[in-house]
Amino acid sequence: MPESGDSKGFTSTNLRLKIGLAEMLKGGVIMDVMNVEQARIAEEAGATSVMALERVPAMIRAEGGVARMAKPSLIKQIIQAVSIPVMAKARIGHFAEAQILQELGVDFIDESEVLTPADEAHHIDKHAFTTPFVCGARNLGEALRRIAEGAAMIRTKGEAGTGDVVFAVRHMRQITREMRALTVLSEQELYAAAKEHQAPYELIRMVAHTGKLPVPNFSAGGIATPADAALMMQLGAEAVFVGSGIFMKERATPLDVENNPKEREEAVSRAKAIVIATTHFNDPKILAEASEQVTGTMKGLAAAALEESQLLQTRGW
């Protein structure tokens, strides 16, 4: 990306503001919430942001059907209920959903593989929006293609809704390994590297010089425990998203935080402990204490046992 003041460059006001908000979320936990009560629990536990959706990935996975943007009324209720930034998901390529989310005042839009893709070839042109976007990636090339389209934050895709962290680890390791490999190439070798990663040369060159993405690099997709959060942070994630890990009991059943005090307490304990673990990711003593506070963990689904057709991470390109 050129270092000019054009509307798509990293020095443009639009992109600086978008990346600016992503900077503020570093070191924190972004939690999926399906109603106002969950949003309040998340804020109270110390989440830096909430992701408003109708069904968390574990439920989408269990129930099937077309997964779309959340209802505007739900998003508005959640915006009203908390003082922290509110995110929401749009389907891959569904720029009309994104326009609606921007109009509703959502602070960050996740163009997400968790929802059913709306376009088989094109992701959203994210430069066309004032609201910042986060996109998932499995490798460096995919991350840089999303950044070229205007994403202000990258997160690993992992395998959402499983409670199995193995793919988030694979994707984070892959992205960091590929970035490290670029830093030792000569200037002449960067052109071929751009071709290999199928990413714009200017972005490849930027990563080769700095050793990191030009936008914040977060992790998502299967993080379910305080230890998972600490693992991703130690592997280089700058913050974590927790989807189904906080409010789900069984794979298709959420904890009843509205009517069952014991289940509410369990959700609170998970949320708080993951927040503490993300900040103190390098302090095993605090990690042990935080892990001890958790009264239960989502029943997971081993991601390795999933059929290729059941994977969400292969959506998008």
Partner: protein, 205 residues
């Protein structure tokens, strides 16, 4: 003492937020940054920065194991600079919604005062700091709606202060760490160095 004094060691509250950007800005301004995640990390620091991020999240951590009290004690004796969420934490009173604050800065601060992320903006305005107008990056920014008598206003937006100083305390409602202009961090590092000189002379005198 004729030797050049050692660079000041300035903590950056690293619960969450853009603490890494502040650490970089401190290095560029001639200070040594130290990440602070618990009360014990404050020991031996010459000053402290409370970065941008989510003030509600930071507050949760401060309210555990009396980190809050330790910060209040620190801010009574050492220079502290808060940006955005940090300015909210330093305030005497916080509105929209009300939340607990350290009370180190005699000011009332209103959260998310300009609206949501789509209302975030970058403006350039006059400043009392030498060197011409200052670029200010506002991200879901708060507003300082009332200030006490002892507060010096160094920059403003629409008639309300955006950069203030009160003895050893500085606060900005914008993010100087997200620009290339280092004048604001330099002003804070100078404040820290001056406070060190004062405490040196009080020891020897």
């Amino acid at each position: 003492m004729n030797e050049k004094p050692a660079p000041p060691r300035i903590g950056v509250l690293a619960i969450q937020g853009d603490y890494a950007a502040h650490a970089e800005a401190l290095i560029e301004s001639g200070a040594v940054p130290i990440e602070v995640r618990k009360a014990e990390d404050l020991a031996g620091l010459d000053g402290l920065i409370l970065p941008g991020g989510e003030s509600t999240t930071m507050l949760k951590f401060l309210e555990r194991s009396d980190f809050f009290g330790a910060l209040q004690g620190f801010s009574a004796h050492r220079p502290v600079f808060g940006t955005c969420a940090g300015a909210i934490l330093l305030a005497r009173e916080v509105r929209n919604p009300h939340q607990r604050s350290l009370g180190a800065l005699d000011a009332v601060v209103e959260r998310n005062a300009y609206g949501r992320q789509i209302d975030s903006s970058i403006l350039t305005a006059e400043t009392a700091l030498a060197g011409g107008p200052l670029e200010m990056v506002f991200i879901r920014a708060p507003r300082i709606v009332q200030t006490g008598a002892g507060i010096e206003i160094l920059a403003s937006r629409d008639g309300l202060p955006t950069l203030v100083r009160q003895a050893n305390i500085m606060a900005a409602t914008f993010h100087p760490e997200l620009t290339r202009d280092r004048r604001v961090h330099q002003a804070f590092v100078d404040l820290v160095s001056a406070s060190l000189l004062r405490s040196d002379s009080s020891h020897t005198g």
